[in-house]
Symmetry: C2
Subunit: 251 residues, 2 copies
Amino acid sequence: MLTKGEIKYIQSLQDKKHRDAAQRFVVEGAKWLEELIQWQPDWIEKILATKKWKEEHKRAADSFVVESIEDYEMEKISFLSQPSPVLAIARKPVHENPVFDHNRWNLVLDGIQDPGNLGTIIRIADWFGLPAIFCSSDTADAYNPKVVQATMGSLCRVKIIYGNLEKILSETDIPVFISAMQGNNIFDTNAQSGILVIGSEGKGVRPEVAAKASRKITIPRIGRAESLNAAVATGIMLARLTSPRQLSKGH
Amino acid sequence: MLTKGEIKYIQSLQDKKHRDAAQRFVVEGAKWLEELIQWQPDWIEKILATKKWKEEHKRAADSFVVESIEDYEMEKISFLSQPSPVLAIARKPVHENPVFDHNRWNLVLDGIQDPGNLGTIIRIADWFGLPAIFCSSDTADAYNPKVVQATMGSLCRVKIIYGNLEKILSETDIPVFISAMQGNNIFDTNAQSGILVIGSEGKGVRPEVAAKASRKITIPRIGRAESLNAAVATGIMLARLTSPRQLSKGH
């Protein structure tokens, strides 16, 4: 049985202010919990679950603090329109200062606002094996419940690091590729490593950040749509850039 | 001033049943209206707009039936959380029977459920210059307000045709490529044309449809994410397949 204070506390974690103060965030859903238990068990502070979930996950119940709660309580604390049988209160991970890797593709986001897009991009980064994403401070918060949900567990494997992009891009000698409407065809780009910068949905990459670019790259448009969704553009670029085929193709 | 009956009628167009009966759908937003006026003026039955929009769009006001309504009325009929200054009641287009094109890539969707995904896919198809998308009957309805919104105007340029996929795939001699978890690397696929089939978010392509495939293709996974978002996967595949670069690369 949850106290009023506990319910209020969990509900408060919808807001970034409260997540930052508590250094906690919420994970929901049976599938997500499996990922969390497998990949980041140390993040788990407490699991709140229906009796049924607890009975079906005896090992989890032995390893973690699992409190069983009633369906109506889950409805009160869940951020989902259809509450799942399990919810965890998790510790926000602390990541070191950003370090770009000279030997692979690094992803930088400049001001992505839509939580669904950010979550989808984290999932894409995970698919293509990127260990981290570097974000401008005005990018959506990765621990926002909608982002967490959209990552479908990939948040366990991809470090999300926020910082001053102008500064960190000034301090590196790795080539910076900016996604832009006018630029070199991504399919003509044969670089094996670098930093890929994706801009916000409406405005693209800010001029201060674009000023750090070595090269502008673009996805060639054949038809008439004015733009591509930011997550779709990230997927197309990372797929192309990380594709092993380019190794054998060269110039 | 809208009558109660008119308000009720517009609200009813949220539901597929009523859209099908009336053969009408709703378009909202100043930007979307520009696309509609430019590309499909014949679809427009009636425009409802604030006085300000009407004054700023005198040519539209001369060419179409434009009724000015008050903000509080727009709030009542809008499907958006933040109502825009303009809304159109549009005629659903009638498209001929599906005809695949031997000389280009054709896109087929098997059971895409999420309206946001379908809208994003229509926008992707438009970006890559596809004139049509062929959908199984259980794919989300393209005239659902959430889909319409997510297409950002691309619905004006891409024909959405629903039908029996097993039947139409049986009747064609064009090679069918199925997006699958296990298949040939999309970056090793050098076909210049064909039919690309994308399955639903949870279940992929149905076995009955997969049985019509000439080849399975896949986006190579480097990391750990279990899957890619269906719209992102469509974007990656269409970008690769329609890329002019493959012409010069070949095998």
